[in-house]
């Protein structure tokens, strides 16, 4: 088999050292020993056992890896974990509180807004970020501002329905 790109070893013996990085994830401090090229996505999934955040394309093109960083939605696949020392990260695991699902999580269930569920964690984190931004007024604007989250199953209409319902209820904080 010919691999298209060189595979780089994860651990090196040529002078590259792991760094201690402290991440605040879901209101918990996590201290990691990682190499500088570990993405925030891999730091969460591979080194912190937080596998709710999904890896789709790993290149910024699908939105599956969306998390909230200091309240804003970002892509964890194009972020280096070492660059987020001290930031507040929220993943899908940190959305429900005190055993209560977030309004968006409830709406996704009510509106049948997922099939395989692969894009769902990213969709929900992204929708929370979008509602907080407060820029989308119309359904068209919600669609536009959610367009960074692709759903391979084609559940998009129900996803937008679920988000519109929560937005119209105004109870998303």
């Amino acid at each position: 088999m010919i691999l298209p790109y060189p595979i780089v070893p994860d651990v090196t013996d040529d002078g590259f050292d792991t760094q201690t990085v402290t991440l605040n994830v879901n209101r918990m401090k996590i201290e990691l020993q990682i190499l500088p090229w570990v993405s925030l996505l891999d730091a969460l999934r591979e080194y912190s056992d937080l596998t709710g955040t999904k890896k789709g394309c790993d290149h910024g093109q699908c939105g599956a890896c969306t998390v909230l960083c200091d309240g804003e939605r970002i892509l964890s696949c194009l972020t280096l974990a070492v660059m987020k020392e001290g930031s507040e990260i929220t993943t899908i695991e940190g959305i429900a509180q005190d055993g209560q699902l977030h309004e968006l999580q409830k709406a996704f269930i009510e509106y049948d807004a997922f099939q395989c569920g692969y894009c769902t964690p990213g969709q929900i984190c992204s929708a929370i970020g979008m509602l907080r931004e407060g820029k989308a007024k119309t359904r068209d604007e919600v669609k536009e501002l959610m367009s960074g989250n692709l759903c391979r199953c084609g559940a998009n209409n129900n996803i937008i329905d679920a988000i519109m319902d929560v937005k119209n209820q105004g109870n998303y904080e």
């Binding site: 993405s39 972020t79 280096l80 070492v82 970020g129």
Partner: protein
């Protein structure tokens, strides 16, 4: 991705010093282009210098009647800044037509100017590409060149520069402010990016080790008559096949000044100065806009699969000039008005 050392810069001087003579040390800002290219092993760096901790260039401020955009302000914060929405809505619309909300939250103003082409062959390390590997040849010339350039091309490269934000900055006469080992300098926006010539691997006139610190836009913002139109294969979240930024200044029903810049057609954001000249002191009619479009596209050359862009660009100019007469009709994501 290759192995690298990661370090933070705390001042512009610190960033410049940390590059020192290292030819493969790179700055990282939002990371949305650089990390992507590094993951494909299309670019490599021995050291990544994080410029985000540098103080003093994280704000948007009034400057000599115009505005200074800090290089490390995100694209999202810039697009939604009250001063930009009110005085430079064309810039706001162009930024919001690009990428996705998540990427705009990460991408910085400085990084946006330095993003690399989306030419398929540039992204495919198994094919020759003069931009990636100088002297290896250009696969797009005889390849599937549907998304490639029609203006300012050379036999070495027919790639387009993919930014939306930069199309508006070209129309708005922006100036790029730079600090480097030899001190500070400024470059007019239309002189910042380069045509491919026989050095397509050099995208712009920034020198290695120089930091973009800010971007200035002069007072004139065309906030009454402006429009950004982006034509692409999907309504949203795709790069432009052709995009147009238009600003018009009207007085008594006559065009006093027109600005027209195109995206997706050249190795640089393409400013249509000759068409702008034609429109001066004319009535804002469809015929005049169509004539201006003919002038702007007069030097265009199509390749096997992208000749359609010539007609597309002409029609986009006309449509966008008409939309600029009624900016309130614009739809989200820079789609044509209804």
């Amino acid at each position: 991705m290759n192995n690298f050392i990661y370090t933070k810069a705390h001042s512009v001087q610190d960033a410049v010093d940390k590059v020192g003579g290292k030819t493969d040390a790179k700055f990282v800002a939002g990371g949305t282009n650089l990390i992507d290219l590094m993951k494909y092993s299309l670019t490599r760096a021995s050291t990544l210098i994080d410029v985000n901790p540098i103080e003093g260039h994280h704000s948007i401020e009034e400057k000599d009647g115009g505005i200074r955009l800090g290089a490390f302000v995100t694209n999202a914060k810039t697009a939604y800044h009250p001063l930009i929405e009110e005085r430079y809505p064309l810039l706001s619309r162009a930024i919001l037509a690009g990428a996705s909300a998540q990427i705009r939250n990460m991408a910085t103003n400085g990084g946006n100017l330095l993003q690399r082409t989306r030419c398929y062959y540039f992204y495919d390390a198994n094919t020759p590409c003069n931009k990636r590997e100088p002297g290896s040849g250009c696969s797009a010339l005889m390849g599937y060149n549907r998304i490639m350039a029609i203006l300012g091309t050379s036999d070495s490269c027919i790639a387009v520069f993919p930014s939306d934000m930069c199309v508006a900055l070209a129309a708005l006469d922006a100036v790029v402010n730079i600090s480097g080992p030899d001190g500070e300098r400024s470059i007019a926006f239309t002189d910042f990016h380069r045509l491919p010539g026989n050095t397509p691997h050099i995208d712009n006139n920034l020198l290695h080790g120089e930091v973009i610190t800010s971007i200035d836009i002069p007072e004139k913002g065309f906030c009454k008559n402006y429009s950004y139109l982006k034509l692409r294969d999907r309504n949203s979240y795709a790069f432009a096949l052709v995009s147009v930024a238009t600003g018009l200044e009207l007085e008594g029903g006559i065009i006093k000044e027109a600005r027209i810049a195109l995206g997706g057609v050249a190795h640089v954001p393409w400013r249509g100065k000759n068409g702008e000249e034609f429109l001066k002191d004319k009535e804002p009619t469809r015929d005049n806009f169509a004539h201006a479009a003919e002038i702007i596209l007069s030097g265009a050359i199509g390749y096997e699969y992208n000749s359609f862009k010539i007609e597309l660009a002409k029609r986009a100019i006309v449509r966008n000039c008409i939309m600029a007469l009624h900016p309130e009709t614009q739809l989200p994501g820079a789609q044509p008005s209804a």
